[in-house]
């Protein structure tokens, strides 16, 4: 079980690094938004794995809140991209 958790965490960290590269490089704003979404989803995954690793059920509440906030952020970004901000820059 420890090996599986280690592999999972390593892979998710790698995925986070790749998402971060896309966040920094991303040619257009939608690329960056999608990278941020992926980032928050990966964070939810990492917290879930840590909840399994440490046997602390409270971490699952953290993931619930995190997932809710990520969902809201994606809706907010989508609205922002569709309608443009106050100063449409």
């Amino acid at each position: 079980m420890d090996i599986v958790i280690g592999i999972t965490l390593a892979l998710m960290t790698l995925a986070m690094c790749l998402a971060f590269v896309r966040l920094v490089k991303g040619p257009t704003l939608p690329d960056r938004v999608v990278a941020l979404e992926l980032f928050s989803t990966l964070i939810v995954g990492v917290i879930g794995v840590i909840a399994i690793m440490t046997d602390v059920a409270s971490f699952l509440d953290v993931t619930i809140v995190m997932a809710l906030m990520a969902f809201l952020a994606s809706i907010g970004f989508a609205r922002f991209l569709e309608r443009g901000g106050p100063q449409d820059d």
């Binding site: 409270s58 809710l68 809201l72 907010g76």
Partner: protein
Amino acid sequence: MVRSGTLILSVAARLLMPLQLLFSVFLLLRGHDEPGGGFIAGLVAAGAFALYMFAYGTQATRAMLRVAPQDLIGMGLFLGVASTLPAWWHGQPFMTAQWWTIPLIGFTFSTPLIFDIGVYLVVLGSVLTAVVGLMDGGRDDG
């Protein structure tokens, strides 16, 4: 009233908002000894209202809230201050926590709970003020 284009969002908002508010109350009441508390509960509740706002616009959210978000901040600060006072009745230092057990239902009521509800209202009010301001600041959405 602005309707967002997608049916999925408006239906999901209507389904998710009560659940989110329920979860926030759960976090608020659990907060003293376990993870949770006024701050994160207020944030989750603000998230619920923000979701409703994204789906149905600011006017509908204001109509549902009944009070202005700024008034929630004031009410929360008032509750926070009020929770510090009962200690004086018992001749104890300012802000000492007081615990009362309500007989029939065995529910323990306390000044930390009042303080947490105050924090909850302050966080809810300030986040909603910010979100409403941002939404109204866009093109004539409001």
